[in-house]
Amino acid sequence: MGYKGSSQKFLELSGISIGDIIKITKNNVSYQGILLDRAEDPDDKHIVLKLDSGYNIGIDVVGALAELVTKGDKPNLELPPLDMGKDVDKPDISIVSTGGTVASVVDYKTGAVHPAFTADDLIRANPELLVHANINGEAILNILSENMKPEYWAKTARSVADEINNGADGIVVAHGTDTMHYTSAALNFMLDTPVPVVVTGAQRSSDRPSSDAFMNLISSVVAAKSDIAEVTLCMHAEEDDSYCLLHRGTKVRKMHTTRRDTFRSINTLPIAKIEKGKLKLVDKNSNYKKRSNENVQLHDDLEEKVALIKSYPGIEADIIDYHIDKGYKGIVLEGTGLGHCPENLLPSLERAKDSDIPVVMTSQCLYGLVNMNVYSTGRKIVSAGVISVFDMIPETTYVKLVWALGQTENIEEVKKIMQTNIAGEIGEKSSEKYFLN
């Protein structure tokens, strides 16, 4: 409960608890309504009342008198289970939820929003899902995506593998959007999947009628039925509710803090578009891994001690030294331009090499290839043993190094893994079409 200090005392003295209908009298005015919980951050002086009109107000407890009108029932949002049966003609799709709200239930009596995770919840909120598939739901984590970390990627990968082993024809992973592209990259490296694995989320929470969750979720289910057996990321393509794009999970990035079409393919085109429940390839010649009957393979060993460091004018070498001293096993540098950092870092980069700590160079330009041969600084950086990874974006590079160090401790092998395309993360060839689309 969010009440503390004087408001908590006031409620205790008045014998009132959350959910009760109470009457508060203060000066010459009185308010009647349901006592609601208070968010944790605001002050401790006010209590929150939901009036009959539906409006919430905060009342300063100083000088207020509270009377209990009716003892409230504990709000119960347990809904009876759905018995949907199974349509043998439809594929089985599993929705694995890691957090964020792909679906929610709003309790209008108290105004509380409850995230919905189970398959039943999802179907209640999105009955259209049943048009496309038999839906199985699994809530494996409940964390905000900024709190994601490598161990949760591994847990997610294992759950996905379990679902595939249990016969799912495709998987949708519901995820918060902030670090969704890290997870989609990580799943790509950890899973060798015979069926589609589609990561999705929402920029507008699902408790609002305008949420993008519904279209993203439906489109993801459609993608999960397709023959694109990779880990992809499916989100709105435009500010319009027109269609979704299916991005390669290793070459996609969140590019806007709030827009629905925040996710963009970087240095490549999206694989497919999904419009009105139909999937169409964006580029007919595009290469993707096709659905098969093989078993899913899981490579979920990760090395968490990896840092992602951005180079900037004035950066000092002690930032690199700190990570070496702290026992980090790998460093990704987000360099400037073609893949540079100031010369004053060179001794520390040499030190990293001597300590068998791979340093991998990417570019904060995001678009284009890293090339350290053009300028002298670049060549010096190469001599210091820094690994160049072509057009791989910084976030994917970080994820891949976490994974590569989990696969081997041999620095030469790590270098080889980092420079070899495994899951579409590296493209050798650039195109006019790949910039700012």
Partner: protein, 624 residues
């Protein structure tokens, strides 16, 4: 009508746009635009699921047949907040302050902490699918000539997007209006007389206008709640003209009384509404009715229902020029059809006596039974006739609670059922705002001058007549008046009556008085003060300002009404004396009369007669 006996009760709800620098939750200007939109966004809305126990089949159907919403947006006039692609910015404190000022004038209790709520609205008028709104104050009152009216609530909310057009499941809105701060002031339903409701609306308008609110068409919207004891609560939306309010009340009372009369008659006839929907395609195979043949040739259907015991009542007038049939048609039209045919208006519209007989036969109608026909695409026609059925069933039992739309002729038409309990929950993207006692006290000790106080003050201060003063207040010209008086030594009545009456008359005569600003008026009055024009020429100059370019002086010059200086007058008089030296010699001072006439003719009114007289007298005296 004896309203007291009828148990008439009314409440008012006023929505007023505020004239703040920015919108309620984003930095956009509170201005509408007619520019071509830079973007058109396509969106869908769906109700968020509430505490549903099972899959809601209706919601499922609804979501498959959903409306498309198109939002017109702009590069600079609107931003991502309006298009629901960015969370709201913090609450506009200027708007909250104006709300608190108005709450204080209305003797309301301002709450301790403001919470922004989301009120679910999925008709597309809000991009998020909800309107943001918050309660600012409760329990106030307003004194009127008819007694005290309680003001229940004052809310601060965001205005909705502007509806531009609608066709075939596609509704177009413009985002310019979305998010303009709006005050909602609600009275309790204790208003008892039609004239009182007008008075309350007027008084509330005056209170609102004493602060920073928007002026002009569409910036204030009044909704009227009306009920009589035997009738039902009806909300009439969008009453524009205050003068129309009493008539509107009268017409609504009439409507309810007539519906009650019809209900009683139906009850005494033991009327029934048949559940069966009949297909009459065969009967109308070769019809002369254009509407029906068009529906059939488009693959649609002619559907009919039987209304047992309704004959003769459907054609009964319920409001001036509107029949019970119009009420039924209103429900049908909501489903997208253009109208209905009912037995009481037939034969007509190409439906013949023969057709009627065949229908009567088909439906097995008795002498007192009626029928209603709808012809359109199957689904539309079916939905429409089911709505008519529903409304007809209600008519036997009661007057239905409805939301109706105000029409310009003081009638109203069906809009939708009354909203059920508001689906409200908290807006989690906006922190709550604590309102301190100091802030409230500060506002209370600096309240703006109310219209009546203002009127009394200018009467006392400038010795204006009651009529001029109240006109200036009513027309909102007091500020202009005082601005002019701050630099002018002219008598206040001249300035006041120009602002109160002359401008109005000039506008009535077709002059574009909107071109005038206060500086122009000030400069015009300065001409009088400097003796350059006569007081009577002010309106002539103002007409010029309305229709031509140029300063007041330039216009006065081109009108040739600039007064001559004393020297110029003297020169002309010298000339006249010279030309008429004979008469002066002969008559001496007796010549003044004749020369006065000649002088005034030559001066063409551009000199003061007193001055001319004085000059002539002095000069003739000197000649002698």
């Amino acid at each position: 009508m004896d309203y007291k006996k009828l148990g008439l009760k009314m409440g008012l709800e006023i929505h007023q746009q505020l004239n703040t620098e920015k919108k309620l939750f984003c930095p956009c200007k509170c201005e509408l635009t007619d520019k071509k939109p830079d973007y058109k966004l396509l969106r869908y809305l769906r109700p968020t699921q509430s505490e549903l126990g099972k899959i809601d089949r209706a919601a499922f159907e609804e979501s498959r047949r959903k409306l498309k919403f198109i939002y017109e947006s702009y590069d600079y006039e609107t931003c991502l907040v309006e298009s629901d692609d960015e969370p709201p910015h913090p609450l506009n404190m200027e708007a909250l302050e104006i709300a608190m000022i108005i709450a204080s004038i209305l003797h309301m209790n301002i709450i301790d902490e403001f919470h922004t709520m989301r009120k679910q609205v999925i008709d597309g008028s809000n991009t998020g699918g909800f309107q943001r709104t918050g309660l600012v104050a409760t329990d106030g009152y307003l004194e009127t000539e008819y007694g005290i009216v309680k003001i229940e609530n004052l809310c601060l909310e965001e205005d909705a997007a502007r509806r531009i057009s609608q066709k075939r499941g596609k509704v177009v809105f413009r985002l310019d209006r979305l998010g303009i701060p709006l005050l909602e002031v609600t009275t309790d339903p204790s208003i008892k007389h039609p004239e009182q409701v007008k008075e309350v609306a007027y008084q509330l308008g005056q209170v609102l206008r004493s602060t920073k609110v928007k002026r002009g068409l569409g910036t204030i919207r009044q909704d009227l709640n009306i009920s009589i004891a035997e009738g039902a609560r009806v909300e009439i939306k969008g009453v524009q003209d205050l003068d129309l309010m009493p008539k509107m009340v009268e017409n609504e009372v009439k409507r309810q009384l007539n519906l009650i009369k019809i209900m009683k008659e139906l009850q005494s006839r033991e009327a029934t509404v048949d559940n069966e929907i009949h297909n009459l395609n065969k009967i109308f195979k070769k019809t002369e009715s254009k509407i029906i043949s068009k529906a059939l040739s488009n693959g649609g259907n002619v559907l009919a229902i039987k209304l047992g015991g309704f004959k003769g009542l459907i054609g009964k007038e319920v409001q001036p020029g509107r029949r019970f049939g119009t009420e039924l048609a209103g429900y049908a039209k909501k489903m997208g059809v253009s109208g209905i045919f009912h037995i009481d208006e037939l034969p007509a519209y190409g439906i013949t006596d023969v057709d009627i007989e065949r229908i009567a036969d088909h439906l097995k109608l008795s002498e007192y039974d009626a029928f209603i026909i709808v012809a359109d695409e199957d689904e539309k026609a079916r939905n429409a006739i089911m709505e008519v059925q529903r409304r007809a069933k209600t008519s036997i039992k009661e007057v239905p609670e409805e939301t109706r739309k105000a029409l310009e002729d003081a009638n109203s038409e069906y809009l939708r059922p009354l909203p059920t309990a508001s689906r409200m929950y908290v807006e989690t993207d906006i922190p709550t705002t604590v309102i301190s006692k100091e802030q409230i006290n500060d506002i209370k000790s600096n309240l703006p001058e109310l219209p009546n106080e203002k009127k009394q003050r200018i009467i006392d201060q400038y010795k204006l007549s009651e009529d001029i003063a109240s006109q200036l207040v009513r027309l909102d010209k007091v500020e202009n008046f005082e601005d002019i008086m701050s630099t002018s030594k002219l008598d206040p009545t001249t300035v006041g009556s120009t602002l109160a009456y002359t401008l109005k008359e000039l506008r009535r005569d077709g002059n574009d008085v909107s071109r005038l600003d206060n500086k122009m008026l000030k400069d015009t009055f300065a001409l009088v003060e400097d003796g350059k024009i006569v007081k009577e020429a002010v309106s002539e100059v103002i007409v010029g300002l309305c229709n031509e370019e140029g300063s007041p002086e330039q216009i006065a010059r081109s009108l040739n009404i600039i007064m001559l200086s004393e020297k110029e007058v003297e020169k002309i008089i010298d000339e006249i004396l010279f030309e008429n030296s004979k008469i002066v010699e002969e008559r001496g001072m007796g010549a003044i009369g004749a020369l006065m006439g000649k002088s005034m003719q030559k001066l063409q009114g551009k000199a003061d007669g007193k001055l001319v007289n004085k000059l002539l007298r002095d000069k003739i005296q000197n000649i002698k």
